[in-house]
Amino acid sequence: MTAGHDHHAPHGPGSGHDDHGDHGTHPPGIQHHYDDAQHQFDSGKLGIWFFLAQEVLFFSALFVAYVLYRHHRPEIFAYAHHYLDVKWGAINTGVLIVSSLSAAWAVRCAQLAQRRGLILCLSITLVCACGFLAIKYIEYTHKIHEHILFGKKFDPCVSSGGQHLLTNGDHCPGTKRSACRAADVDLRPDQPGWQVACKVKETTPTGTRELPVCEMEAHHHGPAHAANPPCWEISQNPWVCKAGDFNGTPGVAALVHYGDHALRGSSTKIELECDAAKAPPTPDYAADLPVVGGLGQGTFQPKQKLSDHDLGVQRSMGPPPEHTNMFFSIYFCMTGLHGIHVLAGVIVCIWLLIRAVKGHFTPQYFGPVDYFALYWHLVDLIWIFLFPLLYLIH
């Protein structure tokens, strides 16, 4: 009987896979119930467009989750996007755009009965698609190895001092997220040294009072802090030392930083009372940094307010904010589902390649190539949005 034709890949995980082209032995022609090739092509075209609208909706829930969590918890995204490698993302975008071009070109060749051109373009699309999957494979294995995963399994290496958090291989200079609390964060792991336990006393004309020292807070100063009394944040600058073994290398106590606004008036005197046993010998380095000597009389002037960039860098040095795993849940869902669609595209592309080699496609019958190209452009379209949303966060 005449070879029927089908128009798209109804796939999605677990739902089995229907083929794309027709597999009748009869040379490709018009299905019985269609009037002519134009009728068959237009029906298929309409069918694939409905399918593409449905695919947009299929990804909708993930975009909603993304927008919600980015809007409500921007610090998670600001922190976690350092884990993603923009280089690989950009290469992947390029690869997909090339494959999109070759898919569109393949349709053109099919329409103009250029069989060799069609086979060449389809092969380029196939190669690019596999390249895309390979790059995704590289990124995923890196993350799995680094325990940068979703939900409970999110346990990456944390606090690598001034550099960003991309760690390499087994060497995890900082502490594991699961083990670390804000207090014992080692912010300059490659330089062993001192962590100074200090108390801050504020003497104002009316009297002196001891202010609680907040642990290093990586979050933004959200409402959680509004409730507490005004407190001093010992925000470690890059040269702070770690408690424990003292081997005499230089270190500096702390940069005391009074919330986000400048000090109130000059009459306030801040004293830093430090535990003698842990005070290092007089360090000899840059003059403008406060000096801690002897028992607790270190007076100093606060540095100017940190710029947003510095704050950002500082924040990315501290332990990850609460529930950072949400970013990676959304990341793996989005790129995973997109990857599955690319995989389905690869299978279909192989199938089309076989049929192209068999010469099934004529200017009168090139529907499957056109529908596959449309589907492929949509997959590329979704990646065009995924790339900036996930990789290019500022």
Binding site: S15, G16, H32, G47, Q54, S60, F150, N325, M326
Partner: protein
């Protein structure tokens, strides 16, 4: 295209189980859907009866709390995913849509078969979950409760619902392209039967809303096994977010259940009143506007579930806009009866009971759209009664109406009229007896999904259970006599009801490609052209051609 001898009925076109399992003929696929759906209806009905018998008296009557929770969950899941969503579109739609268009088949026959096998696999998964301990999360799978407990049954149920979702998407997609591309010459958009408008609106919702169910169940599946934490509050997720995802699909889903039912009723009412429908364009436009508006109102399921005040206000206002098209339809249907020539055959009894039950269902929806009364009525038996009036009282009754209306056409056999009328009245009485007391019980504060309830509600539950038994009996007898009619049913003529749409010009049962020769398209409401030669046998008298007009 399907193979076989094209000029005998599609039953005889080809024989052997293989020709049925690999058929591409929309009629055979529709029939296989029908058997599956009727079986699922019986299974779902059995669960409903067990639930009702358990609720006969407070405390344990026949089952304990765990089994009761599994029973009402399975009743919900089987009825929603297996029976009422694919019911009218997949079973009746597959059967009738191509013939009403005069087309040999749907646009993508192979996709149609693939949808059917998706439905079978999904149904198998859903029912298989019973063997592994069944799910007790309610058919809505609300997190975080659905995240606990043992994983296999929930995984199977979610997998099943996922596949059923895709089956629904592809059926919808198939119908959309068929309606767009396979209308014959001379049948523009406003010369189409209203049933096709309804199926078109339903297909729009199926294609645009069901994928969201797919992604939600996928996320729930991954939440269950990989703990991605998107719905689990301990990991930063938000249970209300799951409800948003779930209801964004599930409200259009309830319109997927009711809009095709309205289409069937629009056709049946005008046939049995022998009078053109009143306000064709208004009914057609209200079907499509229902489809579009259904995407705006999902929040009214979550008025008290932690949704914010602002969202409650917006959703409550929008919910009223959805009520208007439904009201317009009811008024137009009632106006159609005016000055008609009404024959109370079984389909007409169902259509009239649909009219009454849908009015009650729609009006009780007003109670739940109003914010202050919804706070009191939400999650009580008032809601249970409301959605049963709309889903069963209207959706399933219209399914039975369409089943009886087109039974002669696609089986070639008449069903026994007398018994069918008795069963139709039985359904109407049993249904009202079951669910009217639940309205009162609900507004008095009886919460939903309660296995053990306070003694003051006992009287209502008893009446409701008696009603459920009557309903069960009449539904069960219908399946029996319909199946029996295959063997002992009277041979059905081409046009037993004197209907004027295109499918009644095809032989019953239709040949493989529906029409021996391409049909001639007529104006759909020309009832004067159709004359009753003998009881239940109408013939189209071609006034233009022969000029003789048989006297009545």
């Amino acid at each position: 295209m399907s193979t076989g001898n094209p000029n005998v009925s599609y039953f005889e076109a080809s024989h052997g189980i293989k020709n049925w399992l690999y058929t591409l003929d929309h009629k055979r696929i529709g029939l296989m859907y029908l058997f599956g759906i009727l079986t699922a209806l019986m299974i779902g009905g059995a669960f409903a009866l067990l639930v009702r018998i358990e609720l006969m008296a407070p405390g344990e009557t026949i089952v304990g709390p765990e089994t009761y929770n599994r029973l009402f969950t399975l009743h919900g899941a089987v009825m929603v995913f297996l029976v009422i969503i694919p019911g009218v579109p997949a079973a009746l739609g597959n059967m009738i849509l191509p013939i009403q268009l005069g087309a040999p088949d749907v646009a993508f026959p192979r996709l149609n078969l693939f949808s059917f096998y998706l439905w079978c696999t999904g149904a198998a998964c859903l029912l298989l979950s019973i063997v592994f301990g069944a799910i007790d999360t309610g058919w809505t799978f609300y997190t975080p409760y659905s995240l606990g407990g043992d994983h296999t049954p929930v995984m199977l149920a979610i997998g099943g619902a996922f596949l059923l979702g895709f089956s629904s998407i592809f059926t919808g997609l198939n119908f959309l392209v068929t309606i767009h591309k396979f209308r014959p010459q001379g049948m523009g958009w406003f010369q189409m039967p209203l049933n096709l408008w309804a199926l078109y609106a339903t297909a729009l919702m199926q294609v645009l809303a069901t994928p969201v169910l797919g992604i939600t169940l996928l996320l729930l599946f991954m939440e269950h096994f990989l703990h991605i934490g998107i719905f689990d509050p301990t990991l930063g997720g938000d249970p209300v977010l799951f409800q948003h995802f779930f209801w964004f699909y599930s409200h259009p889903a309830v319109y997927i259940m009711i809009v095709p039912a309205m289409g069937v009723i629009s056709d049946v009412l005008t046939t049995f009143s022998r009078k053109p429908i009143f306000g064709y364009r208004f009914i057609a436009y209200s079907s499509v506007s229902l489809a579009l508006l259904s995407f705006l109102v999902w929040g009214h399921h979550m008025f008290v579930s932690g949704q914010s005040k602002l969202a409650n206000m917006v959703f409550s206002a929008l919910t009223f806009t959805v009520g208007i098209p439904a009201a317009i339809k009811v008024f137009n249907w009632t106006a159609t009866l005016y000055k008609g020539d009404i024959r109370l055959k079984t389909p007409m009894i169902y259509a009239l009971s649909f009219l009454i039950l849908f009015t009650i269902g729609g009006l009780t929806g007003l109670f739940l759209a109003i914010l202050s009364t919804d706070v009191h009525l939400h999650d009580t038996y008032f809601v249970v009664a409301h959605f049963h009036y709309v889903m069963m009282g209207s959706g399933l009754v219209a399914f039975l109406c369409g089943l009886h209306y087109w039974w002669p056409k696609f089986t070639g056999r008449m069903y026994p009229e007398r018994i069918a009328q008795v069963c139709a009245v039985g359904v109407f009485i049993g249904f009202n007896l079951t669910f009217l007391p639940q309205f009162v019980m609900g507004s008095r504060g009886m919460p939903r999904r309660y296995w053990d309830y306070d003694p003051e509600f006992a009287i209502f539950h008893q009446i409701s259970t008696i009603g459920a038994i009557i309903l069960g009996i009449s539904m069960f007898t219908q399946v029996i006599y319909l199946m029996a009619s295959f063997k002992i049913g009277k041979k059905a003529p081409k046009n037993p009801w004197g209907a004027s749409t295109l499918e009644w010009d095809a032989p019953s049962p239709p040949t493989l490609y529906n029409f021996p020769e391409p049909p001639e398209v007529h104006e759909i409401y020309e009832y004067d052209d159709i004359v009753e030669e003998s009881p239940d046998n109408w013939v189209r008298v071609n006034r233009k051609g022969t000029g003789t007009k048989a006297e009545h």
